[in-house]
Amino acid sequence: MGVIERTWDWLTTGAHWSGTDGVWHRLGEHLFLTAVCLLISCAIALPVAVLLGHVGKGGALAVNISNVGRAVPTFAVLVLLLLSPLGTHGSWPTVIALVLFAIPPLLTNAYVGMREVDRDMIEAARGMGMTGGQVIARVELPLAFPLIVTGVRSAAVQVVATTTLAALAGGGGLGRIITAGFRLTDTAQVVSGALLVAGLALLVEGAFVLLQRLLDPMRRPRPKAAAAPGTAPA
């Protein structure tokens, strides 16, 4: 039997989906970790980026953090955290690593989005007597929305990918199916796990693209933002 048939067999075997090592459990872990980490990193990065963008300071910081994020291997950070005193605290090494890697795209995109708002519009809003807070809430945030969501999208995909790597360091998530497959030298399981992981990443990306279209407060055809992929895959 070829790899494709064996992979199909693996995926259609009910036993592989149930139990603590099963697909459903791992998928649940993956989604839970992704959601928690995305929320934490949004709570940290977005207010900072919006404030910095509003004041117009810290542009170099935003860009540099993004570049540093690209140069530091995710896997290295995961292992370093695992061997640090934090390592004994369950999922914390994974959560911290995921948050660290989600912050750069969030920060950079939100900052750039805030800065790219037309200066004249902000002047006009101020001229109408809006306070700083009102300018942020009613002018800058709605106009920066597409880029901010692009950042959240990059971060989400990044977190999904990094959660996969956490399995290398003994954490939970769908990556465990792949690493377990390698340990058992079961190619069908490795390929099945890889397909599931890739599928999930694509689904998350697709869901955010859809959300972005539905939620944009300025829903009108706009020139496609030339936003390159935020950060490297992990």
């Binding site: 790899v3 570049n67 690209r70 140069a71 530091v72 291997p73 995710t74 896997f75 290295a76 950070v77 292992v79 370093l80 695992l82 061997l83 995909v157 999904v160 990918a161 990094t162 996969t164 790597l165 399995a167 290398l168 360091a169 990556g175 792949i178 690493t179 497959g181 390698f182 190619t187 490795v190 390929v191 796990g193 890889a194 397909l195 992981v197 890739a198 990443a201 694509l202 990306e205 030339a226 390159a228 992929p229 950060t231 490297a232 895959p233 992990a234």
Partner: protein, 239 residues
Amino acid sequence: MAHQNCLITNDWICGAYVRTRSQELTDATLQHIGITLASVAIGLLVAFPLALVARRWKVVAGPVLGATTVLYTVPSLAMFSLLVPVFGLSAAVVVTGLVLYSLTVLVRNILAGLAAVPEETREAARGMGYGPVRLLFGVELPLALPAVMAGLRITTVSTVSLTTVGAIIGYGGLGNLLYDGMRSYFKAQVLTASVLCVALAVLADLALLLVQRLLTPWTRTRRRAGKRGRVVVEKAVAA
């Protein structure tokens, strides 16, 4: 025997580790550099014709950009695992995966660089009797170099960091040391490999920056000429 102690006490920083295992560290670093160089070089060789085709035929541009973006979304562990049945456990798996990732940024940047060449420049070159090939390599490509090099730098830095994941199949360069160190709880090995990895990324970035400066001397002469021009203007005003 103070230098022996740090190996026994399992310190993060350990000179004795670097000294006694220097061969292992060198081998891992060389493997890392080899995989990165091969991936970026092949990525550039594939991306360039792809970008040219996408520029020539608009019908192709959408699918090419779409496909490379989709590939970029796939997590590295999955990407490498999916390629194992194709190549077996070999460095080709890691290199192929990294090449696929590099295409997204490289194709986009090459396209953007070529698109930014002013039409008048092209017309002038054609008027001087430049054929399409000479136009591309003699005029358009040099002018697109800053954008291409920017893409190359992003690609190289992320390739250096992603190579570590190749440890899952034993071809991760410094990632192999990370993986072993994690399993044996060997702190000095993990920290040393991590630091080397980041240093490699930073050095590669600086090297490419240098190459860009050497390849685009006109960006500096223009600046210098501008200064000289200003001096002339100032003199003229003073006179």
